[in-house]
């Protein structure tokens, strides 16, 4: 009896050990990379590529999708407790990289990856801290620009051409208004859209005062002292006062944009370059070809405003599978995979890598080509502590519209809040 018991014990033990061994061997063969990402940043195209990647390499990607409103809380908690996923999504932009993600501590240096040199430098710069590249921006950050979209038929009817200066823009708006057409749709009530007229013109401020961004970031210059910014806001206020945004700008909403622009009663809308496509989707009888674009001409701006920051992949420095994660990023940036990704995403025009076949309309392509050397980075991305106070700037600009603040007050308030943020972040330049 004793012998039988012993034999069966040995048998069970042997099976258990064999089983454990097999499962360890299995785990070695198949790596699963965990990837935490904001629900808005993960596109179907990348899921398909991840499946293809798994088929080719046996490395699976486990997407851990977090709703947008909770994303940063969850990510920051995980980074702070050392439990982050192998890959994590984040928004590029130098301020965000250091303030929100502390990439120097939390992310792996990707400067020597094969794709690093290929990425558009203006985009890569937004994931770079002290000369090291930390992220792969897998998003259309170049084709999506905020420009003034105009109704070609209305412009033709009034004999108008896209303006080159503010004076031309103002005259054009006045002509439209006198002719019974509301010049622009401006949804102020959402609190964020009307802000775009100000920091998006970063390239113009930089052009007027070369080196301004550096001086602002090192606290050697203040917003309140910059004349071009003051001009921009003063002109914006003038447009509001002259009624170019219509009577109901303060209660107009971004959600109503296509409805507002559908009947030709309003001539222009400052929106992303894909706005005509949006309009076409809601109102199929309107063709995207009926719309043209020009850059925001406040402060006589003629430069294209690029916001190269966008959803970006980072590899967690504490990951046990850094090599596999690098392999995944390399896979995503293979030319054929870039093209598959771009083609699968209706909202994208291009990707920040050379050689992809873009999806711009001929007219938009011509516009982008024309501004190829006349472009710059918007100030909410280039200047520290601006993006974080976007909605506050919105309040100030609204107060400026309603007359309780002056354009100079708006700039002073931006400086005050920057100083608050910088001191909270113990920024050495603000000591």
């Amino acid at each position: 009896m004793k012998k039988v018991f012993l034999k069966s014990f040995v048998a069970v033990a042997a099976i258990t050990v064999a089983g454990l061994g097999a499962s360890t061997a299995f785990a070695d063969a198949k790596v699963t990379l965990t990837y935490q990402v904001d629900a808005n940043w993960i596109k179907d195209g990348e899921r398909q590529l991840a499946k293809k990647f798994e088929e080719q390499t046996g490395i699976a990607i486990d997407f851990q999708i977090v709703p947008a409103d909770q994303y940063f809380n969850v990510l920051k908690t995980k980074l702070n407790t050392g439990e982050a996923t192998d890959l994590f999504g984040g928004q590029s932009g130098v301020t965000d990289l250091t303030l929100n993600y502390n990439v120097e501590k939390n992310a792996v240096d990707l400067s020597n990856e094969p794709w690093a040199k290929q990425e558009d430098p203006i985009v890569a710069a937004q994931s770079t801290v002290k000369g090291k590249l930390y992220g792969l921006t897998y998003w259309d950050t170049l084709g999506y620009v905020w420009v003034v979209n105009y109704n070609k038929a209305t412009f033709k009817k009034f004999g108008l051409e896209p303006p080159k200066t503010y004076a031309e823009f103002k005259a054009l708006c006045q002509k439209l208004k006198d002719g019974g057409v509301q010049p622009l749709y401006e949804p102020v009530s959402d609190g964020w859209h009307h802000v775009l007229w100000f920091p998006e013109l970063g390239p113009r401020y930089e052009q007027a005062t070369p080196g301004l961004a550096d001086k602002l970031n090192t606290n050697k210059e203040k917003f309140a002292d910059d004349k071009t910014m003051l001009t921009d806001l003063t002109e914006l206020k003038e447009m509001f006062d002259l009624g170019f945004f219509g009577k109901n700008a303060l209660s107009d909403t971004f959600a109503d944009r296509t409805k507002a622009m559908s009947d030709g009663k309003i001539a222009m809308f400052m929106a992303q370059s894909a706005f005509p496509q949006d309009l076409h989707k809601d109102y199929p009888n309107i063709s995207p070809d009926d719309w043209g674009v020009f850059v925001m001409p406040l402060a006589d701006n003629q430069l294209l405003n690029i916001n190269p920051a966008g959803p970006t992949h980072f590899i967690y420095s504490g990951s046990k599978h850094v090599a596999e994660a690098k392999q995944y990023l390399d896979f995503l940036t293979k030319p054929e995979n870039l093209q598959t990704y771009l083609d699968s995403e209706p909202q994208f025009f291009t990707l920040p890598f050379p050689g992809v076949k873009t999806k711009f309309s001929p007219e938009l392509q011509a516009f982008m080509d024309a501004h190829k050397d006349a472009r710059g980075v918007v100030y909410q991305t280039q200047i520290n502590y601006v993006n974080a106070q976007w909605m506050d700037i919105g309040k100030d600009v609204t107060a400026m519209f309603t007359g309780t603040e002056s354009p100079a007050d708006v700039l002073t308030n931006v400086d005050k809040r920057r100083s608050d943020f910088a001191q909270a972040a113990k920024d050495p330049n603000w000591k």
Binding site: G191, T398, A399, D420, F421, A424
Partner: protein
């Protein structure tokens, strides 16, 4: 004389004697650990630069409070808006609530319960729903209210209700009063129903008219209910947040910002020290105002 339980009980145990403190100790400890201590801890954070941007928390003295009370900042406006909102909504809700209560107590004879329910309905609607509803109703271009005004030829008073900085706060007060008046009416109605009818009959016999009866009978006897209503309205008004968040979110500009929206924004921007300083000030205001009003309205001992 038989056995009287009350007398017996009263004679064996002194009613006015105090229980030993040990009876209350468990409750006091729990209350202290989970309520008093965290609250005081919160106030201590008001004197620091605690924020989401740095792991360090440093003592900065009164810096947060100085910032709040600096005229160039917007916070002083938050205070005046909060006080204005509180005072005006107390007046509107109490006056209208009392008028409705009087009407439904005596004036209206038919369908009384139907009216009571109708006036109470807004109270049970969620504030966010009411806010979104009125955003749509008060939209200057497409809103129901202005469309109605225009239809009856009153274009002149069809205004930008929620987006004109001069009237936005008053529009919100109106919306808030519309929602809250039913609640106040119910409390006052209950108060009115406790007043014995004999007083009114006796006064009538003595020749008192309606106004005198209201002034010398209804009002004094309704004082306890009115004081509750005032305290409730005041504490509610000082802590107002949701209706403002749902209708204007403090806008246009800073025209309708109040203390609670300021606190919410400070916290959501990660400026925890500043947010705590603001909420500590609100706490002190609530404490003083609540205590003051209760003392003011509590029945005074009748002088012989």
């Amino acid at each position: 004389m038989g056995w009287d339980p009350v007398l017996k009980f009263g004679s064996t145990m002194k009613f006015r004697s105090r229980y030993p403190i040990s009876f209350a100790a468990p409750a006091l400890v729990l209350y202290g650990v989970f309520f008093i201590l965290p609250s005081l801890g919160g106030i201590i954070y008001a004197f620091t630069d605690w924020s989401s941007y740095s792991d360090e928390v440093n003592f900065v003295g009164l810096k947060n409070f100085v910032k709040i009370f600096t005229p160039g900042e917007h916070y002083l406006g938050y205070f005046s808006n909060t006080f204005l909102f509180t005072i005006i909504t107390i007046i509107i809700k109490t006056v209208v609530g009392l008028a409705l209560a009087l009407l439904l107590n005596e004036g209206v004879k038919k369908f009384v319960n139907l009216y009571r329910v109708m006036i109470y309905v807004p109270v049970v609607l969620p504030m966010l729903v009411v806010g979104l509803m009125f955003r749509s109703i008060l939209n200057p271009a497409t809103g129901l209210f202005n469309t109605f005004l225009r239809a009856i030829g009153l274009d002149v008073i069809a205004m930008s209700w929620l987006v004109d900085p001069h009237i936005a706060l008053y529009s919100i007060m109106f919306v808030d009063s519309w929602k809250g008046v039913g609640y106040i009416m119910v409390i006052l109605l209950a108060g009115l129903q406790t007043i014995p009818k004999d007083y009114y009959e006796a006064a009538k016999v003595d020749g008192a008219n309606g106004w005198w009866r209201f002034w010398f009978i209804t009002l004094p006897l309704l004082m306890p209910a009115l004081s509750i209503v005032t305290v409730l309205n005041m504490l509610y008004g000082l802590r107002i947040f949701d209706i403002i968040y749902a209708t204007t979110n403090g806008g246009p500009g800073y025209a309708t910002e109040v203390l609670q929206t300021g606190i919410f924004k400070a916290f959501s921007q990660g400026q925890y020290g500043l947010g705590t300083a603001l909420s500590s000030i609100l706490f002190v205001i609530l404490l003083i105002a609540g205590y003051g009003v209760i003392r003011l309205l509590e029945p005074k001992p009748v002088q012989q």
